[in-house]
Symmetry: C2
Subunit: 299 residues, 2 copies
């Protein structure tokens, strides 16, 4: 991952293709298996894994991620020796699907109960990780938005839902189902906010909405500044609220500081202990403020 990008997600976006598409591409050229360097910002001994996309034209060869320290070592070996042999033993297996569910909490709107604001994270995690930052943080922050409104005695005009989406990591079927039900019930979705970039100190919100709506959110900039949020710019929202764009929702995603995210992402290091309570809460406070402002002044 290119360490010179300030925003680590840019490096992940650029290098991710080697993990997601590399195995299928290597199979095309006759490879028996693939080892990829973990997509991680730091040098450590933990493999970071993630989605790999095969196609049906070539064999689905085994693919493993090795830690960045191991990749450095292997790289050194490959430079110094013309032949390097390795042995891969992989005990992973894909189990059949089982039923699972999105988890939804809602405060009914006082004036427009049928107009819905969604704030969400995802409740599943990548298999070898505890998933505290990805995305326990976003799930907890979404619940916290409802708790904050309730604790302050605020009665939102629109219905506000905290949604813990299921299956973000492995197909996004929770997000698809949420959209499917919204369509079936003919729900009006005005805004969707996602937190799926970790519970680190908030720096901004990515805004996936029309230019006039972006300008409206930017007009609230001074309200956010003292709470650490400087960047209110066009950008991505998140893969779980993303599908709501099809039914006209304006979207946003919390942009926390990204320096430590890829030390932990999809690795055994993504534990509860690596979450800072103050950072997590500061993100939730800003999310609650955005939801409050959208509910009160519209978009």
């Amino acid at each position: 991952m290119n360490p010179t990008y300030i925003r680590t997600f840019m490096a992940y976006g650029e290098s991710g293709v080697y993990r997601t598409r590399g195995p299928a591409r290597a199979a095309k050229y006759g490879a028996l298996a693939v080892m990829v360097r973990s997509l991680a910002s730091n040098l450590d001994d933990f493999p970071h894994t993630g989605v790999t996309i095969y196609n049906d034209s070539f064999p689905k060869i085994p693919a493993v991620a090795i830690s960045t320290n191991d990749a450095e070592w292997l790289s050194g070996q490959l430079k110094n020796n013309s032949v390097v042999s390795g042995y891969i033993r992989n005990t992973s297996t894909m189990l059949p699907d089982e039923p699972s569910f999105n988890v939804v909490g809602e405060i009914r709107g006082t004036q427009f109960p049928n107009e819905i604001i969604t704030v969400g994270g995802h409740i599943d995690s990548w298999d070898l990780a505890e998933g505290a930052q990805d995305d326990g943080a976003g799930a907890v922050q979404s619940i916290e938005v409802l708790r904050v409104l309730k604790a302050l005695g605020l009665k939102p005009k629109h219905s506000i839902r905290a949604v813990m989406f299921m299956n973000e990591e492995n197909g996004g079927r929770g997000a698809e189902k949420y959209l499917e039900i919204a369509k079936a019930k003919n729900e009006k979705h005005i805004f969707g906010l996602e937190s799926d970039a970790g519970g680190f100190t908030p720096r901004g919100f990515g805004l996936d909405m029309s230019a006039d709506k972006i300008a409206k959110v930017q007009s609230w900039k001074n309200l956010f500044h003292d709470y650490g949020v400087c960047d209110l710019e066009a950008g991505g929202s998140g893969s779980d609220v993303g599908p709501l764009k099809q039914i006209g929702a304006a979207l946003a995603g919390l942009s926390p500081d990204s320096q430590r995210y890829f030390d932990l992402h999809h690795a055994a290091t993504d534990t509860f202990e690596a979450v800072s309570k103050r950072e997590l809460e500061l993100g939730a406070v800003n999310m609650a403020a955005l939801i409050y402002l959208v509910d009160k002044y519209g978009l």
Copy 2:
């Protein structure tokens, strides 16, 4: 510490008086010893200690800090029982002074070698802590500023010194000595920059200088924005470069994100492992940029 302040240093400033002045005040009223709640943002089992200021009119009674978890427990006991007795055993002792030194590295200026820009942190740490964030981070970042200039082949016009100040924690005598020598040599100090708030993601610089100089630094705001620095405002610099104000230096202090600082400050948790390399480097990059701009365009 008041958890509602976004900037944790405000809470530390407000509550610090109980540790620094409490023991002397309690002695005045006949106390035999003092236990203070650790100045920490989080609940854990580690005592956080620090400077305590006695006066000569009353006995210098023993003072200990207890962890926030223990303070919570003790608080509960005091609420439920009319009499709570405790036993304090304190093996601390104040050892005699020993010689120690500031450590200074310098790049000589090409045009104004006798005009000096200082960038510094402190090399000592509070006794029960490894001191990785307070202030190993600032010391390393200051060295890094010189390394970056050198690596980029830049030849500064003014002399730039990285100074690792000694004895910040226990009297600031390294800072005093640095000023004393500067005065004795009749040095011209145009700017002093300090990093002593941890090696966390940089958020801004506190500017302790005249309004016209602040305006000049703020005119560079767009250059810093993409590197995560949003706040260029009047504020404090640091206790080590602070004395340089007496000889006319403009001063600034790096303001990193402060959410995690008081989880670690002056406690055994302030270890190398709690420093994020990317966060540390991002602070150093912004410091180097500020030093570069001040050297190039003046203040």
